[in-house]
């Protein structure tokens, strides 16, 4: 299958995601410059992390205006699979493909460390190879991952099972103590109602080979392939 990875000025995880898909997973990648609109032949879009447009104005605010983002929004509306990682998640929020917004981390610092995540929803194309309640060890690297939304949206997210992964302790305890950035309800990743758009702050592409310290992120990419090819 073919993955599309948009590249904005300032993206810096595009090659990492591409590496995992091509070299580890063994599938095809097409890099999409931010001025491109043609997504023909692409089965899944992964919006990578980085600092698109230098995070000017707000993280993701400029990238949402790019031609490639408009094409991604149309692709998602047609039911195409779209995953956003870190800055990619922020772009999906700004573009309105996912509800809510990001605030600066409660610590006001850039956090780069391994965290633990609890899989809350394993019924979407991005997580179906995980067990529900499984604990993953995947790194985060961001300054603005403090997810927030209106109380009504939060209620909806929780009721619809749209919270896909939550920050937790190594044993799976979800509490403020194990919330690195202050996000509402320890939210690390959410999906849309249909389940074809998924965004998360942690970097599964940095946890997909034993040599980098964890393989817990790999099954997200594998899940996508299995859901498309089966």
């Amino acid at each position: 299958m073919k993955f599309g990875i948009p590249v904005y000025p300032g993206s810096n995880c595009d090659r990492d995601v591409g590496w995992v898909i091509e070299k580890v997973l063994g599938h095809e990648v097409r890099y999409l410059w931010h001025k491109e609109r043609d997504l023909s032949g692409i089965d899944c879009i992964i919006v990578p992390g980085g600092f698109s447009y230098g995070d000017y104005l707000r993280a993701g605010a400029m990238a949402k205006l790019s031609p490639v983002t408009e094409a991604i929004c149309e692709f998602a509306e047609r039911g195409g699979l779209v995953m956003g990682i870190c800055n990619g998640f922020q772009i999906l929020l700004e573009a309105g493909l996912l509800p809510g917004a990001m605030l600066p981390n409660k610590t006001l610092s850039f956090i780069c460390e391994f965290v633990h995540l609890k899989v809350e929803n394993n019924e979407i194309p991005f997580t179906h190879l995980y067990e529900k309640g499984e604990i993953l060890r995947i790194p985060i690297a961001h300054a603005e991952g403090n997810y927030t939304c209106t109380p009504e949206t939060l209620k909806e997210l929780e009721e619809n099972g749209q919270v896909v992964v939550r920050y937790c302790s190594p044993e799976g305890i979800v509490s403020e103590e194990f919330n690195p950035n202050g996000s509402l309800n320890n939210i690390a990743g959410i999906c849309n109602k249909k389940g074809n758009v998924f965004g998360l702050m942690p970097h599964p592409e940095r946890a997909s080979e034993a040599i980098v310290g964890s393989v817990d992120g790999y099954r997200m990419f594998e899940s996508i392939v299995r859901s498309v090819l089966v």
Binding site: R58, M62, G100, A101, L103, P104, L108, T148, T150, G182
Partner: protein, 86 residues
């Protein structure tokens, strides 16, 4: 057509925790400015707009705010318009 100078102030909405505001407030208190409260850190954007009337300028600003300048989930904004006299 006239030239208008525009000042836009973007701050977090009420009820949205502003981590920078909280840090600045704590710093102020620790320096002895104990009566300081409700500190918010926001953005200040200036620009010039050519338009036929202040109403047109208003429309432009509000459209820009809606499209990208402001994220309504977390932010709110006010603005000031002033005609630039030659």
């Amino acid at each position: 057509m006239a030239n208008y100078s525009v000042k836009i102030f973007v701050t977090y909405r009420k009820g949205v925790l502003d981590p920078q505001g909280v840090a600045v407030e704590k710093a102020a208190h620790s320096l002895g400015f104990e009566k300081v409260g409700n500190v918010k850190v926001g953005k200040y954007i200036t620009m010039n707009i050519e338009a036929g009337s202040p109403e047109e300028v208003k429309k432009e600003i509000e459209e820009m705010a809606k499209k990208f300048l402001v994220n309504p989930v977390i932010e709110e904004y006010t603005y000031e318009i002033e005609e630039v006299k030659e």
